[in-house]
């Protein structure tokens, strides 16, 4: 868990994946691999991008660290601070609100005792509100790792929380 004491390096398999991705673009355009590689890095290193991890990615792609920071901070999927094992991303956009997303959000806030952007003291859950996830007909929607949970009710959300507590495994996008 403690990122500082671990050497920041991809496994041989992950490295092979990174080189395959770089090969998708013309010579000298390896910067195009930045988003896919940042996703891999986030998944590998506790689901957030520390400055050290970003420097490592910059090094791998042969670009300046600032080029990585400015991209990582632009896109909402990259976490720039440590997060809980499960990041609960609740859609807060109009269509989901028409079918009860706000109720779901306030239920989760009460249940977990945190506001969006915060993490529970046990490091289990981070609550995050996000914009439309392209599942508007099946709202309220919550994304956790790569999985979409649709047509959620407060009851179903409670069951999910229980399930996550039991599994106790970090959920990442890829």
């Amino acid at each position: 868990m403690d990122i500082d004491t671990r050497e920041i390096r991809f496994s041989a398999e992950r490295l092979a994946e990174v080189y395959e991705i770089i090969g998708r673009y013309p010579e000298g355009r390896q910067k195009s691999a930045l988003l896919p590689v940042l996703h891999i890095a986030q998944a590998e290193f506790d689901n957030w991008l520390s400055p050290e991890v970003m420097d490592y990615v910059a090094d791998l792609l042969g670009i300046q660290p600032i080029e990585v920071y400015e991209v990582a901070s632009f896109y909402t999927m990259f976490n720039l601070k440590p997060v809980g094992k499960y990041v609960l991303e609740v859609c807060r956009t109009g269509p989901c609100c028409l079918v009860g997303a706000e109720k779901l959000q306030s239920h989760l806030e009460t249940k977990l005792g945190i506001k969006p952007g915060e993490t529970t003291p046990d490091g289990m859950f981070t609550l995050k509100t996000v914009e439309c996830l392209a599942a508007c007909g099946f709202g309220p929607v919550m994304q956790v790792g790569a999985t979409y949970y649709e047509r959620l009710t407060p009851e179903k959300a409670d069951e999910l929380l229980e399930q996550f507590r039991k599994e106790n495994k970090r959920a990442t996008y890829c």
Binding site: H39, V71, G94, L98, C132, L133, G137, F138, Y173
Partner: protein, 436 residues
Amino acid sequence: MEVYRKQGGYAAVEKALKTMTPDEVLEEVKKSGLRGRGGAGFPTGLKWSFLAKPEGVPRYLVCNADESEPGTFKDRDLMVRNPHSLIEGMIVSSFALGANTSYIYVRGELFYVIRILEKAISEAREKGFLGKNILGSGYDLELYVQPGGGAYICGEETALIESLEGKRGNPRIKPPFPAVSGVWGCPTVVNNVETIAATSWIVQHGGDEYAKIGIGRSTGTKLISACGNINKPGIYEIELGLPVEEFIYSDEYCGGIAGGKRLKAVVAGGSSVPVLPANLILKTMAGESRLMSYESLAEGGFVSGTMLGSGGFIVMDEDACIVRNTWNFTRFYHHESCGQCSPCREGTGWMEKVLHRIEYGHGKMSDIDLLVDVAAKIEGNTICPLGDAAAWPVGSAIRHFRDEFEWHVREPRLSQERNYGLAGYADPLPVQAAEA
């Protein structure tokens, strides 16, 4: 893959690569009258014909699978259910454009869809539909899937190109257009998932056959993603020209308003298009029945019409609060503004604050005209159309529902209580007596 092949899948690739020239494919797409399904509805054949073809410079086709327009969830469904239809479309479209490397840019949240596409691509490669010398035609194509990072603006084609290059999604100033200078400065076409998937049908059956479907200049079928307060939310493929009333009330489609309530308003083409009240979405100002087509939905301009847009059909019942929904959308645009132009960056933030004030019982009557004024100052004054997309929902909501805004100002407590009961959100601010 087996299923798709049995149903005649990849026949278009065989037909195009073995019996047609790229220009013949382009000709069929032109004849079909197909219009871009990403939102703007620009004729696809015409767009392709603008592609610059300088000697020795590679050209690229990029599929826009960013799908982030609120209310729109059709491309995800198409890619999950029928990934090969997109891949087949990518092959024939890339062939027509002379692209030897193409990318499908998928919003990053949809990693599970990316996996489905990657699997389908490797199946297609195994069968010899991708790679070098496809089907012995001498045509080479590599196809890759690129994840985004969570940013609505990357659906805008030049922002998408920037993002594909590994940068922030800041839209570029046009011209030059991507057709001349796109990915890595090379000529590029960006098309929506649904547009590209349609091209394989067109190649297989001919542009004339496609043009027979639909109505007038709105040819073909369109995927409509319907959501909000309806009995049967979901994705429906309709023939363009279907009456809106039938779409909302027929059991074949939305199945009517949930809970037997009354229809209040519809946002017909994704959050960016003007909202229309029930009477104007069902019938035009002239009293004609409104149809699901580019022309009919736009009838009456922005005074009494709207747009087909991306096909994100958001239905609101009598209990929905227009002020709250408008505030919500404005917060979305403010959040998603890339920040390059001040009218968009500042204007969306300002509108969000004022709408929040009205919604939460602190509004003034003068705020309503202030909103109209700010929206008008954003519109047309920005690098990319996100500014317009943020202005239109506000302008149209006030145009058609001014009463409701005024009611919020006059009766802050009542409007708060009503919304609290219905939506269940907590009031973050104490209600004060509204100032006159």
